[in-house]
Symmetry: D2
Subunit: 268 residues, 4 copies
Amino acid sequence: MTNEKVLEAKNLITKGTVYQVGRVYESGMPMFGTRHYSLRIPQAFKIPGTNQAVYHDELVSGEMGQIGTQFDGLGHLGIGDLFYNGNNRSDFAQADGLTKLGIENVGPLVTRGLLIDVAAYKGVSQLGPSYEITAADLQGALQRQNLRIRAGDVVLIHTGWGSLWMKDNQKYIQSCPGIGLGAAQFLAGAEVTVVGADNWGVEVSPNPNASLAAPVHQLLIARNGIYLHENLNTADLARDNVYEFAYIFVPVPMKGATGSPGSPIAIR
Amino acid sequence: MTNEKVLEAKNLITKGTVYQVGRVYESGMPMFGTRHYSLRIPQAFKIPGTNQAVYHDELVSGEMGQIGTQFDGLGHLGIGDLFYNGNNRSDFAQADGLTKLGIENVGPLVTRGLLIDVAAYKGVSQLGPSYEITAADLQGALQRQNLRIRAGDVVLIHTGWGSLWMKDNQKYIQSCPGIGLGAAQFLAGAEVTVVGADNWGVEVSPNPNASLAAPVHQLLIARNGIYLHENLNTADLARDNVYEFAYIFVPVPMKGATGSPGSPIAIR
Amino acid sequence: MTNEKVLEAKNLITKGTVYQVGRVYESGMPMFGTRHYSLRIPQAFKIPGTNQAVYHDELVSGEMGQIGTQFDGLGHLGIGDLFYNGNNRSDFAQADGLTKLGIENVGPLVTRGLLIDVAAYKGVSQLGPSYEITAADLQGALQRQNLRIRAGDVVLIHTGWGSLWMKDNQKYIQSCPGIGLGAAQFLAGAEVTVVGADNWGVEVSPNPNASLAAPVHQLLIARNGIYLHENLNTADLARDNVYEFAYIFVPVPMKGATGSPGSPIAIR
Amino acid sequence: MTNEKVLEAKNLITKGTVYQVGRVYESGMPMFGTRHYSLRIPQAFKIPGTNQAVYHDELVSGEMGQIGTQFDGLGHLGIGDLFYNGNNRSDFAQADGLTKLGIENVGPLVTRGLLIDVAAYKGVSQLGPSYEITAADLQGALQRQNLRIRAGDVVLIHTGWGSLWMKDNQKYIQSCPGIGLGAAQFLAGAEVTVVGADNWGVEVSPNPNASLAAPVHQLLIARNGIYLHENLNTADLARDNVYEFAYIFVPVPMKGATGSPGSPIAIR
């Protein structure tokens, strides 16, 4: 982040309204494959002393950078063994953590954020399952919103799919509308920093080309070094027509992790 | 957070410089008691497809809200069974998570932040082990910095103790300089939102009164509903004499957790 | 276990055939409530050396004493705060482990084991959901098998419910046939050491008396100090009409745990 | 295990005395590298009902097959990518578990067990750090004990190193006396099933040949398909001169795991 981009974000704050764009982590939330999340409050700890200090902590277990609202780092996904910047998986993927491309290298993100409301552009509250968002969709929606992407921006996409979260988890995770390769290429060309969405993979799933799995991840993460932000809650922003804002997110700097939990915020 | 406070924070951003005030989570970092932190990168997952998508995630286990840089919520510590706002422990501390006072209720914090450099005020780079910071110390340091606390502010305290982190972990965790009850009362009276420090408990440890354990936690968290932010890295702010800034932190909204990991930022 | 009981078990070994009565722990197995089980193989570790030693280990997370084939210890369940032998929960249930009644106190179990095939006695391959096994059922089945219980024995009950394991997990966990209070009283009177079954709770669920939850657990564990062994695989024993055998089980001695994973064996 | 071997074990049971040869799993036990073990008792669960059923379970996290008393399976360690029986690591090491050589394939072990008390043979209570046990040592100790190894036996080696467990953990884990390549070759030639010891790696560490790391693991596990059993407590057997016994161990059948926790027993 350049100081200029931070100041550009600052200047988008005019009302002082903060939107929490991430979701609550909880038992039963939709998760990919056999990932899990468990939180337990142990028995209270009592510290000896006349003032009777009693405390709780929590034991958490899970694929913490890849469940719930999740921010994909550059060590998450590659093309065969080839990862971002020509790094070979065998050179940096160690049991104790990634020795390159770990999430702790990202640092704070404070930049201009845009919401592209593709659902509204298409005149629906929710795009259909496996609807592929095209570059033309993004361009049309931006035109409708009278906005242009600038280099270094974060782009969040509202598909309406997020309304299924914790309402119909099975449907939520089975497929999703999202961007296709054309839209991803458009965003990469616009030099965005992060692409987020209110679905579980940002990209359309399954891909219309049945022989491809996660090709948008490969294009954005591995080829272009663009982060993904998944399982967002963009409903409040869409409802209030908040299309331009300061986006702020600080990945939890877990050394050698592939991603990060945590909630980004949008301020206007 | 009121919109006014957010705008007050915004107006402290003049240069666009962002400081990451939290630490990296890593194996071997100092931890209290028998808490633990483990991160492992499993074998790579290969998704069937002609495009050879290969990915990693991470399995993490630990007391995630109470290790490393940690933000103490209001369900963390009480006086016997009595917690903040008259809540009895037995009413809300459940195995699956706190049903009241959980960290997911905090929401984003965007407010004016102050660094009080007590070490500099005392003319040292590091306060001694178990040095009790008094109300007079805070007032003197604020006067030296020509600043006043306003209601809703976040106050971070620089003791210099943080330079031991990952350098001499045993010394770091054995004791620490920090605020005593008088200083805590002063901060509570000033109606701050969060008190943070570059030590493991914000408060002096052990307390000069040997019969008391964690009394500052009780005063701030349980009696006044003030959050603590521990194991911060305030060295860069202190080095650059950055005493007033926008403090931004969004607790990871783990339902029913007692605290949160993650890195706050200071922007000026 | 007395030496006499061990020798009694020894003398039941006539063929040298060993039956593994426990199940495999795996992702997707039926579990109670929000319990979980996760196993991951991290990236390979490579030890420096000319001989290229490469190794794997596994990161496991779960409620290890209370998932899959599980052996309930005496600290698992009580009547209000009252647990076995007059112990009050608040005196021994600590965050770091039970300070009394922990599973590490059980030690190896080598004793005479009986299989009571209630399904065969009732002329079915599987008892119906929520069928309550009565004392008369146990007595009739024992008579059919021409066997008597002796003090110190382990009694395993075959209901046929276990055939649903990993076949119809939803049905398996929703309810189960099992012993009722009368049958439990009969077994307690016979001074058995362990009661096991091929269902998830040994006892009938839900209890025919809708106001009672887990009353058999209370009667056997809390009042009589009798262990339970759940989610067993008794199908092979039943198929081969193996009704009397050496039962051997050594709880994994996790200090302060409420139960244990692991597979008991039956040898004849 | 053949039925004959089971009956051979049975016939070694003459007194009915059972020795627990495994150790308690607890916080603070010696562990290799950055492995960890955590056990927590969550807040009590209360089941609705007039009978006030209250229960605890435990949340456990750790490298469960490779900490404390541990039984190494055939998928644990290889020579480069080559594992037992010509299996290539890339063919079976999956994130969700090993698809070949997983510990669930081992099954119950009921066989003749021997304790070889090398410490007593050398006239000491504890062999020195990094003492390499030779084939001649094993042969001499067997002669002293008037015993011969038979095919299918389990051999446990008493070095006396185990007396450091939880007494001087740092010394325990830093090095250890154990068998060298010659002794391992002797045991492999004798067609044993398992080699165990009261140290952390069975083999001498570091190896006298400084360029080799874990060569005995390679010889026994990868080349000969012989299991290792580490961190045993052989002190009681040695004290009572129990050199021949029924060895019984059932690996916890965690699907795809590299090893197993749990306590073997010796009965005579």
